[in-house]
């Protein structure tokens, strides 16, 4: 994840210290990808070394404040104007598991797909419940914004992040449906021939834990 660019983008709005940066980040992403504060400070140290941020003294309580440098601003501008690369697909445990399941004899792939679909559907229902609840049901790390203000840009950011999780889960379910019908067709076409893939009853692997957002747990 581009913690580096994200922190720079936040610092463009004004100087901040580590805890503030973390809170601002989580305000926008609903703590979907929790940052630990150690990671924030390590990143800040590296950014300072690279000349993208500079120390701006400390506040009354001794927090070290950082501000973005002109080189840092250029970095942010470049980030926003460059598409995220899709050349290297992120590792997808489910796709890998299914690819192996259809080639390893003795796995009940049909059942594996059904179980996974139920698990992903449950996650999708959880995300939808969060959407229905709106920001009011989610933690507000800094607490200084009105959680019920519909015009809060942070709420919009968080709801778009949720939508991204929703669409990803939906795509996974569609893909599982697709796999199921492909396998069924293959089973029909192979009828009469021994079929190593679909028919054999066998132990069922555990469903892959859908990368559930932290918020799903904390919000309830």
């Amino acid at each position: 994840m581009s913690v580096k660019q994200a922190l720079l983008a936040l610092l463009e709005q004004g100087p901040m210290y580590g805890y503030q940066l973390r809170a601002e980040f989580e305000q926008r992403t609903g703590a979907t990808w929790p940052l630990n504060v150690g990671q924030v400070y390590t990143t800040l140290t590296r950014l300072e070394r690279d000349g993208l941020v500079a120390g701006a003294g400390a506040d009354d309580e001794g927090h070290v404040i950082y501000r973005v440098t002109p080189a840092g601003r250029d970095e942010v501008a470049a980030w926003f104007s460059t598409p995220v690369a899709r050349t290297q697909p992120p590792r997808d445990e489910l796709a890998i598991k299914l690819a192996l399941a259809v080639t390893v004899p003795g796995v009940d792939v049909g059942r594996m797909i059904q179980q996974q679909r139920t698990a992903t559907m449950t996650a999708l229902q959880d995300y939808t419940r969060l959407k229905r609840g709106g920001r009011a049901t989610t933690p507000t790390p800094s607490g200084d914004l009105d959680p019920n203000d519909p015009n809060d840009p942070n709420d919009l950011a968080w709801s778009l992040v949720l939508d991204s999780l929703v669409f990803a889960a939906e795509a996974e379910i569609r893909w599982l449906d697709h796999c199921e019908s492909r396998l069924r067709r293959a089973a029909v076409e192979n009828a009469g021939r021994p079929d190593p893939v679909v028919e054999r009853p066998s132990p069922v692997p555990e469903p892959v834990e859908t990368a559930k957002a932290e918020t799903t747990e904390t919000a309830r």
Binding site: Q114, T118, L124, Y127, T128, E170, I173
Partner: protein, 239 residues
């Protein structure tokens, strides 16, 4: 809490002999007050058959369909028609509004067919339109409304007169994602207010608005996600 809709061992066979098609095989499920149940499945899985049976537009080959505790088979055609006009609301993908009638007239039509006085029917219609957020469009014709607005009228028609069972067949199919979501929010709100809803969809994103999702394949329930309300575990007769 007793179910508003109860299907018990419902099988529907179309045709006979060589051309026999099992559209549904021994399907059982219930929708209780306050509950939205989604039925998911590819085309040909039996979703629409299930909804037609639930709405009393068709009858099962075996098994029973009960609405508000009444087995639809025990009602005659007239009784089922009465049930459809008073207890069951339908929402379709293509809205099914009558183009020559205004929004309010479309909504009040079922009540008027049932013999409700026009003034009372209109009052109920306006209330339903208010509930779906388009009271200001009451006198507009469907042609002068967006797809999302037309579907709101259809939902108003489905809920007018305090119907307790709402059956929705791909209600968001013709709408963009944001408008579709508003429609689901309305259905959800109506169920939260005490109605029972059944939503047929092939989109997981929409099914996720439901409390329970039933997956149909070739007329059989293959998975179910979500859970029954806790109190139904004690209600031994329910399943």
């Amino acid at each position: 809490m007793s179910a508003v809709l109860q299907l018990a061992g419902v099988t529907r066979i179309h045709g006979a002999g060589e051309t026999e098609v099992h559209a549904l095989r021994a399907v059982s499920f219930a929708a209780r007050p306050g509950e939205l149940v989604a039925i998911m499945g590819p085309s040909g899985s039996g979703k629409s058959t299930l909804l037609t049976l639930a709405g009393g537009l068709d009858q099962p080959t075996s098994g029973s369909v009960s609405v508000e505790g009444v087995d639809l088979a025990t009602l005659g055609n007239k009784g089922r028609a009465r049930m459809r006009r008073t207890s069951i609301g339908y929402v379709f993908q293509d809205f099914n509004l009558i183009p020559a009638l205004t929004a309010a007239e479309n909504v009040s039509l079922p009540a008027e067919l049932h013999g409700t006085r026009p003034r009372a029917a209109r009052r109920a219609a306006l209330q339903a339109l208010e509930e779906v957020g388009i009271a200001d469009l009451a006198d507009r014709f469907p042609d002068h409304m967006s797809g999302g607005q037309q579907q709101r009228v259809a939902i108003a028609r489905a809920i007018a007169g305090e119907r307790r069972l709402i059956l929705a067949d791909e209600p968001t199919g013709a709408l963009d994602t944001e408008t579709g979501e508003e429609i689901l929010r309305l259905l959800r709100a109506r169920c939260d207010a005490g109605a029972a809803g059944v939503l047929v969809t092939h989109e997981a994103r929409h099914a996720a608005w439901a409390d329970r999702v039933v997956f149909l394949r070739d007329g059989v329930v293959v998975d179910e996600s979500g859970s029954d309300p806790a109190e139904t575990l004690l209600d031994s007769g329910a399943r």
